[in-house]
């Protein structure tokens, strides 16, 4: 395709969008509504997942070193724990530190002051996992490390969290997929009206020997442009509403909302990408149907 022709087709796409201003506005509006519902569903899922993540992080495994292990031994144990793939983080709490921490507690502080010379608390490793689905295997690996006296954990909670997260993820995927299909259906029908309003141009193109690709191109350009506009508008609205509403939501300390800055690029790319994709597929399907019914 010649550069001149390409430029003409791109210009035609934008011209069509401006010329059919009302239909373009309707398409953008419909797309914004669909993207907004999809975006809200995504943010809701992200927040639920974030809530689980907080509980997830608290579900640590405590491993206690054997009594009398020297500094080198403790360091070797820590190194061995860290070398396990699924271990995200290891916090070491020495018996002295723990005694100091507990001493400040008004209930058990007095009880422990007498034991200063014979500290009964063990050197402890608080271990966070990357993936709770691998909980049992990882615990077994920790238990196999020499120098550890005992490993404490709550396997049932880990399993419950893993299945809850996976359920939220699966349901989320289906909801978003369903909303996207609905959006596509609405956009196909909206663009069909745009195509219908421009049937004279299409007929003339066809009668002077335009190829299907040539006829389709401006509509695809229009679809892309509408998708970008709709994506940008949706992003702006969702950002504004989220920043306005989320500070007002109080679900307790454990459920802090996902900060917008952590999801901004996913949303921007998502809205633009999905908007453009729906614009392209929508215009392609609408025009293909129209050409099939009216061209040959």
């Amino acid at each position: 395709m010649r550069f001149n022709t390409l430029r003409f087709l791109i210009r035609e796409g934008f011209r069509g969008m401006v010329k059919n201003g009302f239909m373009s506005a309707v398409s953008v509006l419909v797309l914004v509504c669909c993207l907004m519902i999809t975006g809200c569903a995504y943010l809701l899922i992200e927040n639920i997942d974030h809530g689980f993540e907080s509980i997830y992080q608290e579900n640590v495994v405590a491993a206690y070193a054997e009594e009398g292990t020297d500094k080198e031994g403790l360091a070797a144990i820590e190194k061995a724990i860290k070398s396990i793939d699924n271990v995200a983080e290891v916090e070491f709490h020495s018996k002295e530190e723990q005694l100091k921490d507990y001493s400040s507690d008004k209930d058990i502080g007095a009880l422990l002051t007498d034991l200063e010379d014979d500290n009964p608390l063990p050197d402890t490793y608080m271990i966070h996992f990357k993936d709770l689905a691998l909980f049992d295997q990882t615990v077994k690996k920790i238990e196999a490390i020499d120098g550890l006296e005992q490993v404490d954990y709550d396997s049932a909670l880990a399993k419950m969290l893993t299945s809850a997260r996976s359920m939220v993820f699966t349901v989320g995927i289906w909801i978003v997929a369903l909303l996207l299909v609905v959006s596509l259906f609405i956009i196909v029908n909206t663009i069909k009206l745009t195509v219908y309003s421009r049937r004279l141009e299409i007929y003339i193109m066809r009668s002077v020997g335009a190829t299907r690709r040539f006829i389709r191109f401006p509509f695809v350009v229009e679809g892309i442009a509408l998708g970008i506009i709709a994506g940008g508008v949706t992003y702006g609205i969702v950002y504004g509403v989220y920043e306005l509403v989320m500070p007002l939501v109080d679900l307790g300390k454990k459920f802090t909302p996902v900060p917008f800055v952590t999801v901004w690029w996913q949303l921007l790319v998502g809205f633009m990408g999905v908007g453009v994709l729906i614009g392209i597929i929508g215009s392609w399907i609408s025009l293909s149907r129209y050409l099939k019914e009216n061209m040959e």
Partner: protein, 229 residues
């Protein structure tokens, strides 16, 4: 150039529009297609432009065998012809120049070619001074001349004019027919569908009369054909 070999056309509704038509039109001819409403004229034209496909028989246009035409070849068949419509079918938001240039852009012409060719064609139909006007600012006759310029601009070997004078004043109709005659003189085949007796009788050309889906006369004596409509 155009050949119909025992062509039948039956629509999905069961209407038999053409019932075995045999016609041959050579390059450079000027032919009137006449007949009453519903006689099969439109179907005849649509088979040439491949908007409809024959149920049986063979249609050959510009060396394309239409029964064997692939979908991707259709644009190239249509580039070999220019179509003039009764209702002009101009894009009202484009100027006269752009309406004509649009047909060139569609086939991928360069800007230079467009700048050179469009003024020439507008000059040919006597509209060089109206290039910047919009269709709604022109008379019916002028609008039809724009339509004719658009049909001509890609230099087709065949012009199909479907009731080209149906929407314009009688005196302007002759202007359009004179233009078509001039274009024919330069070697382009012209096919005019009309039911205007006076016009057909004024131009001594071949007349094909269609009635009830059949060619009932094919003569170079217009008077004979007109008596039979």
């Amino acid at each position: 150039m155009i050949e119909f070999r025992n062509v039948h056309k039956i629509y999905d509704t069961g209407v038999e529009a053409l019932k075995g038509v045999d016609i041959k039109i050579d390059d450079g001819e000027f032919v009137f297609i006449v007949g009453a409403s519903g006689a099969g004229k439109s179907t005849f034209m649509k088979l040439i432009t491949h908007e409809e496909v024959a149920t049986s028989g063979e249609v050959i246009v510009s060396n394309f065998k239409l029964s064997k035409l692939r979908r991707r070849q259709i644009p190239y068949l249509r580039r070999s012809m220019g179509i003039v419509f009764q209702d002009f079918r101009l894009i009202n938001t484009m100027t006269v120049f752009d309406n004509v240039a649009f047909a060139m852009r569609v086939v991928g012409a360069s800007r230079r070619e467009i700048r050179r060719r469009v003024p020439y064609i507008l000059g040919l139909v006597g509209l060089q001074s109206k290039a910047k006007n919009f269709p709604m600012e022109l008379s019916g006759g002028e609008q039809q001349r724009v339509g004719l310029a658009r049909a001509l601009v890609n230099n087709p070997s065949l012009i199909i004019a479907d009731e080209p004078t149906g929407n314009i004043d009688p005196e302007l109709s002759y202007e359009i027919m004179e233009l078509l005659t001039e274009i024919n003189r330069r070697g382009t085949t012209i096919l005019v569908v009309t039911h205007e007796h006076d016009l057909v009788q004024s131009f001594n050309r071949r007349v094909i009369q269609i009635k009830d889906g059949l060619v009932v006369s094919d003569t170079k004596e217009p008077e004979v054909a007109m008596y039979e409509i």
